[in-house]
Amino acid sequence: MSDQALLRATGVRKSFGSIEVLKGIDLTVRQGQVVSLIGASGSGKTTFLRCVNLLEEHDSGEILLDGDPIGYRVEGGKRRRLSEARVSAQRARIGMVFQQFNLFPHLTAEENVMLGLTKVLGRTRAEARDIAGQWLARVGLEARREHYPYQLSGGQQQRVAIARAVAMEPRLLLFDEVTSALDPELVAEVLGVMQQLAESGMTMLVVSHEMLFVRDVSHHVVFMDGGRVAQAGTPDQVFHHPESERLRSFLGRFHGMFGNAL
């Protein structure tokens, strides 16, 4: 793990109408790090994640990926939105896995992984099929290559979605509550794949309510509250030395579920 900041957000603000959802977020993700965002729903975690991948546009502040501002360039003190082509190129360097999997329903598992490889990265179909096969094998689904999403369980769909994102060799992978829509018995298989990725050195920014996973896999944990970073630090600092009543009560809700495991 190097000390270089792969993603650096400073003062990121975002409003929907009159409601300010992000009130100045500062956050750094270093190469090879797993950073987790936790907090109650409505605290702005998912919105921040979507801003990083330009699915939402932040109103002010700056998000740098490898030193390049995401979505905008600054010209004479003014922000100018980048062209759609530039935005698409930036998105290709950031992978994203969604809560609802969002697999393309008209494509098989293999074709889902291949689409970005051929159309965005310009790989040949043969190369793309090879790469797709390797990644589907890594997530334990080589036997399901020819299956359509509707023929797969939620956990399998989510693993295909992870393969689709990783196969693009992104600099950074975003996970947006990827186990929240799964039946409880399918959560473990998805978390297992994520843990493997983390151990292989993938840089990950994770929004999750799986507190045991967050505690065990993250290098850095960020507690968000009301659109601000309320506390950030190592898992030990955040989970065992909460500085605010809000964080204590947030964690308290999970203690009920896991006993004293946290």
Binding site: N53, E84, M96, N102, F104, H106, L115, K119, V120
Partner: protein, 222 residues
């Protein structure tokens, strides 16, 4: 009691002409559906573009076509346009032009509903892997929409096929026109109209069945 002696030889003697006429009608319907789909897709995107100067004329076109009897449109294009010195077409081309514009209006509504029903999450997934705007349409939105709208497209093809009988009014030699001619030559009313009805019925039903197979082939969308 009325005695009617069937003489089917009139049909067997004219089988070739009837078959050709049926194929012509089928061809007119398919070509019009294809051209109409292109028009309809462009119109649907124009309606959804949010640009008033684009959406408004398209709305007017769709409503005009939907509220006019097809036969009048056929007459207007075939007899009316030459009055404005627009006469590059023969009667078959004139009919294809009319039926394509007609199909375009209906297809635009089908596609507009189809495009509107595509869940936003697929587009977001397409964005997330870095597909550009037109690639998102080409590789994700349109294929999904095509599968969703396939039953409606089938219905339109069957309707258009039946509508080709109106081309008889401007003497395009499709099935109804040829039937009328044989009827006028031979006075074998029952044989001619029973046979032609059966030909329409069997053809329309075959189209429906074939397209249902295609629908099943593409049933990966739930």
């Amino acid at each position: 009691m009325i005695q009617y002696y069937f003489d089917w030889s009139v049909i067997t003697r004219n089988a070739g002409a009837l078959g050709e006429a049926l194929l012509l009608g089928l061809g007119l319907a398919v070509v019009s559906l294809l051209i109409g789909s292109v028009i309809g897709l462009a119109a649907a995107y124009a309606r959804l573009s949010g640009r008033k100067w684009l959406a408004w004329p398209v709305w007017a076109y769709v409503e005009f076509i939907r509220c006019m009897p097809l036969l009048l449109l056929i007459f207007f294009v075939y007899f009316g346009l030459p009055e404005f010195n627009i006469s590059w077409f023969d009667k078959t081309e004139s009919f294809v032009l009319t039926l394509s514009l007609y199909a375009g209006a209906y297809m635009s509504e089908v596609f507009r509903a189809g495009l509107g029903s595509i869940p936003k999450q697929y587009v977001e997934a397409a964005k997330a892997i870095g597909l550009r705007p037109w690639q998102r349409q080409r590789y994700v939105v349109l294929p999904v929409m095509f599968r969703i709208t396939l039953p409606a497209i089938s219905n339109n093809l069957i309707s258009l096929f039946k509508d080709t009988s109106l081309a008889a009014a401007i003497a395009v030699p499709e099935l109804t026109f040829v039937a009328r001619r044989i009827n006028a030559d031979t006075f074998r009313v029952m044989e001619v109209w029973l046979s032609v009805s059966a030909m329409y019925l069997v053809t329309a039903y075959t189209i429906a069945t074939l397209l249902r197979l295609v629908e099943r082939r593409y049933a990966s969308i739930r």
